[in-house]
C-alpha cells in the first residue's frame, strides 16, 4: 500500500518511464552524438525497462485493476483514451520483460556498431508504444500507440545499414506496414461512421442499443479491416508476409523484440477492441456473424501455415520466424474460443502463452543472436555440434525449443495445455472449436519435428573440424540464461501467472 495516493495519470507509469528513458537517451545522443559508450547506453535502457517492469508489477500487486469489491483499487482511468486495468498491466509486464532481455543482449551484439544511441532510443520508443497499446481504449489512441510502436520498428529492422538483407527487410516491412495501417485506419473510420464513436465502450453502447443496426454492412467491413490491422501486428495470415523477411533480415535481438513484444502488443489491442467494443451476440445480430468465426478461420490457417512452412526451412532464423507465425495462430485461439457467456479460461490461456512465449521465443532468437555474434553461419548445418563448445547456451536453447514445441515440464507445455483445454471447453458452444483443438494438436506434433531437428544439430551432430574458439559474451549469455531459467521456473510460478492471466481476462470478458 502506498503511503500517499499517486495522481491518476501515474497509472500509466510503466509507459511513461519508458518514454522518459527514451528521451534521456535522445538527450545523451544530442550531447555526445558520436559516443559509443555502450555500457552507459545499454545500462540506461535496461534500467528504464526494468523500472517499467518493477512499477507494473508493483501496481499489479497493489491491486490496480482488481475490482474494488475484491479489495483492489479498481480500474483506473488516467486520462481520456487510456485505461489501466489488469489486462493492461499484464501486457506492460510482458513488454518490459522482453525489452529488458533484448537490451541486455544487445550490449554485446552491437559491438563496433555505429548507431548505438539511436538503436537504444528506438527500441525504448517502440517499447513505449507497445506499453501504451496495452492501455489504450480508444481507437485513436490505439492507432497512435500502434504507429509509435511500428515506426521505430521499421528503422530498427533496417539499422544494419551496410547489410543488404537488413535494409531490404526494413523496406518490405515498412511497405507492408503502410498497407496494413491504411487498412486499419480505414476500418476505424468505417466503425466511426457506423457508430459515431471512437471510444471502445461508447461503440459497444451504440451496438447494444441497436443504433448501429442500419449500418450493419459498414460496421462489418470496418470490423474486418480492424482484424486486418491486428493481424499485421501479430503476424497472422494473411498479413504475415513481412514476418519471415523482417525477422531474417533484422538484427537478431530486434527479431526477438518484434516476434515477442510486438506480437504481444498486437494481441492486447485485439483482446481489448473485440471484447470491449464489439460485444459477442449483439454484434452478431448487427453484422450477421460473430467475429469469433473470423478468428477461428485465422487461427487454424495461421498455425497450420506457420508450422508447415517452418518444417522445411534450412535457415534457423527463418524457421523461428515461421514458428512465430504458428504461435500467433495458437494465441488467436484465445479470441476464437470466446463465447457469449465467457471464455476467460481460453483467453487467459492465450495470455499465459504470450508471457511464456516472451521468454522462450526471445531466448531462442537471442541464441541466434549469439550465433551471429560468433559468426558460425545461419543454417542448421552451421549449428552442428555447438554444444561441444557452448554447452550452457545450447542447453538453454534446447529448453527454449522443447518449450516451444510444448514438451513438459517446460512452461510452453502448460500454456498450450490450457489452450487445448480451453478450446475443448469452448467446443460446447461452438463445434468448430474442436477443429481448432485438433489443429493445435497436429501442428504441435509437426512443430516438434523441426524444433528437435535443431536440438539434434546442436547436441548430436559432430561439429565441423574448422571452427574457432567461441567467445562468451556476458550480456547475451545473461539474457539467455535468465530466459531459460524463467522458461523452467515459470512452471512452479504458474499458479500466480494463471491467476493473473485469468483475472485479467475476466476483467475484460466478464
Amino acid at each position: 500500500m502506498a503511503i500517499y495516493e499517486l495522481p491518476q495519470w501515474a497509472a500509466l507509469g510503466p509507459a511513461l518511464l519508458l518514454a522518459a528513458t527514451a528521451l534521456m537517451l535522445f538527450l545523451f545522443d544530442s550531447i555526445s552524438p558520436r559516443s559509443t559508450n555502450r555500457s552507459l547506453l545499454a545500462g540506461t535502457a535496461a534500467a528504464g525497462s526494468l523500472a517499467s517492469l518493477a512499477v507494473a508489477v508493483w501496481f499489479t500487486a497493489a491491486g490496480v485493476g482488481t475490482p474494488t469489491a475484491e479489495g483492489g483499487r479498481g480500474v483506473i482511468d488516467p486520462t481520456h483514451g487510456f485505461v489501466v486495468d489488469q489486462l493492461a498491466l499484464y501486457f506492460m509486464i510482458v513488454v518490459a520483460i522482453v525489452t529488458a532481455l533484448i537490451v541486455v543482449a544487445s550490449y554485446d551484439y552491437l559491438v563496433d556498431h555505429a548507431y548505438q544511441a539511436e538503436y537504444y532510443s528506438l527500441v525504448i520508443l517502440a517499447a513505449t508504444g507497445m506499453s501504451l497499446m496495452a492501455a489504450a481504449d480508444s481507437l485513436v489512441t490505439i492507432f497512435i500507440a500502434l504507429e509509435l510502436a511500428s515506426l521505430p520498428s521499421y528503422a530498427l529492422v533496417a539499422i544494419l545499414k551496410d547489410n543488404r538483407g537488413s535494409v531490404e527487410a526494413g523496406l518490405k516491412y515498412f511497405l507492408i506496414g503502410a498497407l496494413s495501417s491504411a487498412i486499419f485506419v480505414y476500418g476505424i473510420s468505417l466503425v466511426y461512421g457506423a457508430t459515431g464513436h471512437l471510444e471502445l465502450s461508447a461503440i459497444a453502447e451504440v451496438i447494444t442499443d441497436g443504433e448501429a443496426d442500419p449500418y450493419g454492412g459498414l460496421l462489418g467491413l470496418g470490423l474486418l479491416m480492424l482484424i486486418g490491422g491486428v493481424a499485421f501486428k501479430t503476424a497472422s495470415v494473411p498479413f504475415h508476409f513481412w514476418a519471415p523477411e523482417a525477422y531474417e533480415g533484422a538484427p537478431a535481438p530486434i527479431s526477438a523484440f518484434l516476434s515477442s513484444a510486438s506480437k504481444a502488443a498486437g494481441f492486447v489491442i485485439a483482446f481489448r477492441i473485440f471484447t470491449e467494443a464489439f460485444p459477442l451476440g449483439e454484434i452478431g445480430a448487427v453484422i450477421g456473424f460473430d467475429w469469433t468465426v473470423a478468428f477461428i478461420v485465422l487461427a487454424i490457417v495461421t498455425m497450420t501455415l506457420g508450422n508447415f512452412a517452418a518444417a522445411t526451412q534450412d535457415n534457423v532464423k527463418r524457421m523461428l520466424a515461421y514458428s512465430s507465425i504458428g504461435h500467433a495462430g495458437y494465441a488467436l485461439i484465445g479470441l476464437a474460443g470466446l463465447t457469449v457467456d465467457g471464455g476467460e479460461l481460453v483467453m487467459g490461456a492465450a495470455m499465459m502463452h504470450l508471457l511464456v512465449y516472451g521468454f522462450m521465443n526471445t531466448g531462442a532468437f537471442l541464441f541466434v543472436a549469439l550465433a551471429e555474434h560468433w559468426g558460425v553461419g545461419r543454417t542448421f548445418e552451421d549449428y552442428n555440434g555447438l554444444s561441444a563448445q557452448a554447452p550452457v547456451a545450447c542447453a538453454a536453447m534446447a529448453v527454449f525449443l522443447f518449450s516451444l514445441a510444448g514438451i513438459p515440464p517446460f512452461g510452453g507445455f502448460f500454456s498450450k495445455y490450457f489452450l487445448f483445454v480451453g478450446a475443448i471447453e469452448a467446443a460446447a458452444a461452438n463445434m468448430a472449436m474442436l477443429v481448432v483443438a485438433a489443429a493445435l494438436v497436429v501442428n504441435s506434433a509437426l512443430s516438434l519435428y523441426y524444433y528437435s531437428r535443431l536440438v539434434k544439430a546442436l547436441w548430436i551432430e559432430e561439429p565441423p573440424a574448422t571452427r574457432d574458439r567461441l567467445a562468451q559474451p556476458t550480456g547475451i549469455y545473461a539474457a539467455i540464461v535468465v530466459a531459460a531459467v524463467m522458461t523452467i521456473v515459470i512452471l512452479p510460478g504458474f499458479g500466480p501467472v494463471v491467476d493473473a492471466a485469468i483475472g485479467a481476462a475476466e476483467a475484460v470478458v466478464g
Binding site: S180, I227, F241, P244, E245
Partner: protein, 677 residues
Amino acid sequence: MEGAFSYAPAIAAFPLVAFVVALAFGKWLPKKGAIPGIAATAASLLFSLWMLVAVASGETYHETLYEWTAGEAASEVGADGIAFSFGLLIDPLSALMLVIVSLVAFLVHVFSLGYMNAEGETGLPRYYAGLGLFTFSMLAFVYADNLLMAFMFFELVGLCSYLLIGFWFRTRSAPSAAKKAFLVTRFGDYFFLIGVVAIAATFGTLQFAGDQSFVAAAETAIDDGATLFGFDAETWVTITGLLVLGGVLGKSAQFPFHTWLPDAMEGPTTVSALIHAATMVAAGVYLVARMFGYYALSPTALAIIAFVGGFTALFAATMGVVKDDIKQVLAYSTISQYGYMMLGLGVGGYVAGVFHLMNHAFFKALLFLGAGAVIILMHHEQDMWKMGGLKDKAPVTYWTFLAGALALAGIIPFSGFWSKDEILYDAIIVGLEEPVILAAYAMGLVAVFFTGFYTFRMVFLTFHGEPRSEAAEDPHPVGWSVKFPLIVLGLLALVAGVANLAPVAKLANVDITFLEHWLDGEYGAIEGLTYGAYGELLAYETGVIGTEQQTVLIAAGLSLLLAFSGAGLAWKLYNAPEPVAHKERLGSAGTVVEDNYYQDEYQVWLAEGVTLPLARVADRFDQTVIDGLVNGVSSASLFSSSWVKRIQTGIVTNYAALIVAGFVALLLGLGLYGGWF
C-alpha cells in the same frame, strides 16, 4: 503386547535394508553382504515370533499405513469411491507365514555362507542383495492387507526370482531359465492383474479383511442376488476368482504353468530352497489361503482348484520318477506337493492346506539345502548315478536328508504324513458326495505311491550303495554353516506335525489340533478370516464311510500303505551296491514321462507356432499400415511445406497483392456466411 504391532513394518524393512547395504557396500564387507543379510533375517524372525506371540495373546492388527491415491469410482456395487493403499494385516495366518518365511530365509542365508562364500563364487553382493530383496518382497506380500498391494509384491517376488535364477548369467542355461520363469509366471500374472482390476471395479475395494473388504461385499452381493456386469453374482465371483487364480497357478507352478519350475533349478541351490519352500512358489498357495473367503463363495472355483491340484500332484509325481538330477527330482516333488495344498484348499480344507504349506516349507527347505550339501560333497556333481555311498561319509547330511525324505514321502510320524493325510481325509469326505472331488482325491492318493517311490529312489541312489565316482569316494567336507540349518530343519521335519495331529485327535478323542484352533481364531483373529467363518460359507456336503473314526482309519491306512509300497519298491530296485537303471522297462511310456509329457514342446509350439506368427502379423501391420500412415503424413507435410514456402517469393508487390487477395477472400467468405449478399 499393545505396542508390538507398531514394529510390524520393520519385519519387511530389515531385509530391505540388507538389500541396500549388500548392493551398495557388499564389495567391501568381509562376507560380501552375508552378515547384514543374516542379521536382517534373524531380526525379522525375532519380530515375526513376537507378532506370533502377540496374536496368540489375542491381538490382531489391521491398519492402513499409506494411501497413495483415492478417488471417485463408479463401482458395480457398494462403495462410491476407491482408495489404493498400503496396509498391514496381521492375523493368525499371516503371523504364522511371517515366521515360516523369515525362518527359512534366515537358514538359507546361513547356509549360503557354506554354499556360496566357501565355494569362492563371484558376484556375491548381487546374490545377497537379491536374497534380501526377495525376502523383503515376500514378507511384505504376506502381510499385505489388500489385493493390490499383494499383487505389487507378488510381482516383485517374480522379479527377484528372475534375478536369482539367472544369477550365473554367464552360462547359457541360467539366463534362459530365468527368462522362462519370468515369462511363464508373467502369463499367469496377466490374468491376476485383470482379476484385480475386475474386483476393484466390481466392489470398489480391494481389502482382504473387515466390513469394507471385497469378500464381504461379494457375500452381500450373492445374498442380495445382485447382477454384476451382466452375470449373476456367484458366476461373477467365480470368474474374477479364476482370473486371480491365473497368477496363483503361475507362481505355484500348477498345471499347465508348471514348466518354468524344473528349469529354475539353474539357479543356486540355496535360491531353489528359498523359492520352493517359502517365497515364490509358496506365494501362490498363500494367496488362495489369504482370500479363501472369496473362493469359498464359489463352489465352481473351489472344485477347479481341487481338481487342478489333484491332477498336478499326480502328474508331477510321475515325472519325478525318471529324473537323474537330484535337484530335478526335488523340483517335481515341489510341483506335486503344491498340488496337494491346492487340493486341500479346494476341498475346503483350509487348515489342512495351510498345515501342509508349513510342513512343506520346512522339509522342502531341508531337502534342497541337503541337496546343496550333497552338491558340495560331490564337487558340484548333480547326477545321482554318479553318487552313492555318502551315507557313512556325511552322516549329518544323510540323517537330516532322510528326515526330510520321510516327511516328503508321508511316512508316519514325520510331519508330511500328518498334513498330507489331513488333506486326503478332507478330500475323501467331500469326495463321497462330489464325484469331481473324488476324482481329484483318487489322483492325489495315487500320487502318494509315486512320491514314496521317487523320494526313496533319490535317497538310495545318493547315499546308499557303493560310491560310483571319484568325487563320491572322496567327498568335500562341509562346515557348520551347512550343518546347522540342516539340523534345525531336520528336527522341524520330524516334529512339526505335532501342531495338528488331527487323526489322533479324532481317534483318541483328545483336543490336540492346535493349528486348527489357531486358524479358527481361538487365540485371536480378525472376524471373518477364521476357519469357522470359512466353513459357514462353504457349500460342500461331506460324507463318511461308516463312522468318522473308520473313515479316518481308512484314509490314513490307504495313504500309508501306498507310501510304504512306493518306498518299498524303490528299496527293492535301488538299494543295491551297484544299482542299475530300470527306465527301459517302462518302454514308450517311460519316454513320454521322461520328456515331461511334451509340455515344454507344446508350450514352445504355442509360442513359436501361434504367438510368433501373430506377433509378426501385428508387426507387419505396424510397419506397413501404421508407419506408412505416419510416413505418409510426414511426407505430405513436407511436400505442402515446400509448396507453402514457394508463396514467399521475396517480391514485396506479390505480398501486397496476396494480402489484399487474402483479405478479400476473408471478406467474401464471412460476408457469404453472414448473409451480406
